[in-house]
Symmetry: C2
């Protein structure tokens, strides 16, 4: 087969301006505002601090039925409802809802946009002073996963919740789960870290670094002050997303979904000056990735991407406890269910097993489940009945032990 | 640990102009020129055709001791001598030389810059007409791996070689080995396809597509006509190389080499306006990748990168033979040694095993060796004694069967 030439991702698309990226003005996020702000691990204080969140279900009178769901790198608080920007279903509406494994008939579910995010919580797109002013942009102070968790804890307290029944999350959400359990052990009855690790590996740091450099290489990056010109570094951010998306899947899943099938490329140049031997075709996997890239830039801020990937890279629970992961969980009474997926090569099972082993060493109550699947890292977001059963079973058992009705 | 902010790869470096990229004028590549040119699979004819190559050792009087070494995506013909542009040792001088596994005391070794490359063979940087004129750039016709092999065959004939004693190569070089054996079975006595596959997988196409989009996203890309402004899309090409480099290694190798070690970042912004909480540090793996990216753009042409990655993506030996890989090798008398590396996730052992299985089905003479290593795809370029022994042993055995002195 003869290859046609390559086509830039935006060959036919309109330039993606800020109107495509910023949430519509009509999107009213649910906010909690903390006038004293939050002192970060780096020493800077974000003041005031605003955290955007969503809740599902009802908090019991004893305030003992709250489940905090922590979102991943590019997720947000819209867990189980139509997303106000994309119009798509909630990212975990398969798992969170009435009668579902995280049962909103029984539990009060809270999900909070992470500190540094771009869906209403204080982040690089926020004004840098109380009186407004220009966005933080690249001057937004570096945040850690523990900072994210400390900001969430303020919201949880504000909601009148002393102890969370459970903290659940996958990928970077799982990092938050581990950080919650290590930072506030007395506030977490049960913890479900999914498809995650206690530190970011060299390979994962490497992928994140490439995604950052892709953003910097964009002509519209403008040193991070892209908003000044009414632009977003859409192409660089799309490249970052495309690459990351490959790491979320598995070779098997890509082969099953796309193989080497080609399709007509609507953006292929035809006729004069565009070269010889053009058949106007491209691989389906390319088309899919381009779509992933271009739809992402409409909802995500590049400076948030930089801030959050940095937080992931610097995540290392053991480093905060003298290099001993077990020490981070010493004396914990939290019940853990550590979940991994067999084909996840971004957060391989071995990294989850290391977490489970450290918890065992800390004499914690821990179960460890590896789900057999070919769907890769993304499996935690997809239809995996064994995974659903695991979450349902663990939470039900914990609810019984906690004496929940 | 608190993350410092991210720094663009070129934060302190000088802009990389064409002087850094083009080979110095003094580099006189060894050329073969074919005035009748070559008709490509796409139907276009490259006329004239120039192929740059290097030879090592002496061709026997019977012209029966020639070994063609095929280079990978970013390699070139400087196999076993100091590279004229980078000043670095030859990319396979560990394997090719007097007394080495590909023994230049015994064999006449030929290596040819691939068609579409940028080290002297006709490619996108070549003038588009016989009379000179502007470079082909993105108008360079799409080439296939088989086109590359057919262009090599012209050089081999010009050198007076009817039948090659052996064709050896890794990665895309291995694709050429398979294409040689399928296209010119009577001209290949022995074939050593290393760390390769009979087709590019969906995952590999996906990675290549991201690297192409990274190049397109560079402000200096200029629709592929970057030479007009005396520029190269250095940042995009560096991002492409950085990402590709991760895929050449393994998680184990990255962890062993770098882990989560940090170093002082000489390019880190300090003082005013650069943010809060800067410690001027970065992960060593980031520093390493940035170096890989920036040194690459000094020696490689972006349009060649596009042309060659496209050829790889469209490589599918079976597709050219009715979907049956065994049919591609029906009746072959070539002796094969298929080599894979256990930690290679870009061209996993399963893909080499599929090649060996098809060869068995075709009743070919084939041995298959998986080398145990944690070095990933790059292992074929690195110190792997078991690999060296495999190549040496196979070629010695074949030389005996061929009746070479």
């Amino acid at each position: 087969m003869v290859p046609p030439p390559s086509v830039p991702v935006d060959a036919q698309a309109q330039p993606i301006g800020p109107m495509d990226q910023n949430p519509p003005q009509s999107t009213g996020h649910q906010h909690a505002r903390f006038i004293d702000g939050l002192e970060l691990e780096c020493g800077a204080t974000l003041k005031p601090l605003t955290m955007a969140y969503r809740t599902y279900g009802r908090l019991s009178e004893a305030a003992d039925n709250a489940v905090l769901v922590c979102h991943a790198l590019t997720g947000d608080q819209y867990v189980a409802e139509v997303h106000p920007v994309t119009g798509k279903p909630g990212w975990w509406d398969r798992l969170v809802g009435p009668g579902l494994p995280i049962d909103t008939d029984r539990f009060f579910v809270v999900c909070i946009n992470v500190l540094g995010g771009c869906m209403g919580s204080t982040g690089p797109r926020s004004a840098r002073s109380e009186d407004g002013g220009e966005p933080w942009g690249t001057d937004f102070p570096p945040v850690t996963v523990r900072d994210m968790v400390r900001a969430q804890a303020l919201v949880v307290s504000r909601l009148g919740i002393d102890r969370l029944f459970a903290v659940v999350g996958g990928s970077m959400g799982g990092m938050q789960v581990l950080s919650w359990a290590a930072t506030f052990p007395e506030r977490v009855f049960a913890a479900v870290p999914i498809a995650t690790a206690s530190f970011h590996s060299a390979q994962n740091i490497a992928f994140n670094e490439v995604s950052r450099q892709a953003i910097f290489a964009d002509p519209d990056w403008h040193g991070g002050r892209y908003w000044q010109d009414g632009l977003v570094p859409a192409r660089g951010l799309a490249v970052a997303r495309m690459m990351a998306h490959i790491t979320y899947l598995s070779e098997e899943a890509l082969t099953r979904k796309f193989g080497r099938r080609v399709r007509t490329d609507p953006a292929a140049p035809t006729g004069n000056g565009a070269g010889i031997g053009l058949f106007g075709e491209m691989f389906e996997v390319e088309s899919y990735l381009r779509h992933q890239g271009s739809s992402f830039v409409r909802r995500f801020d590049a400076n948030s991407y930089l801030t959050i990937t940095r937080a992931m890279d610097y995540f290392d629970v053991a480093a905060d406890h003298g290099g001993d992961l077990a020490a981070a969980f010493a004396g914990t009474s939290t019940r853990f269910c550590v979940v991994s997926f067999s084909s996840d090569w971004l957060f391989p099972t071995a990294q989850s097993r290391a977490v489970a082993r450290a918890l065992n060493k800390a004499a914690a109550n821990v179960s460890f489940v590896e789900i057999e699947t070919d769907k890769g890292h993304d499996a935690f977001l997809l239809d995996e009945p064994d995974f659903d059963r695991t979450v349902r079973g663990f939470l039900s058992g914990c609810a019984e032990h906690a004496g929940l009705a």
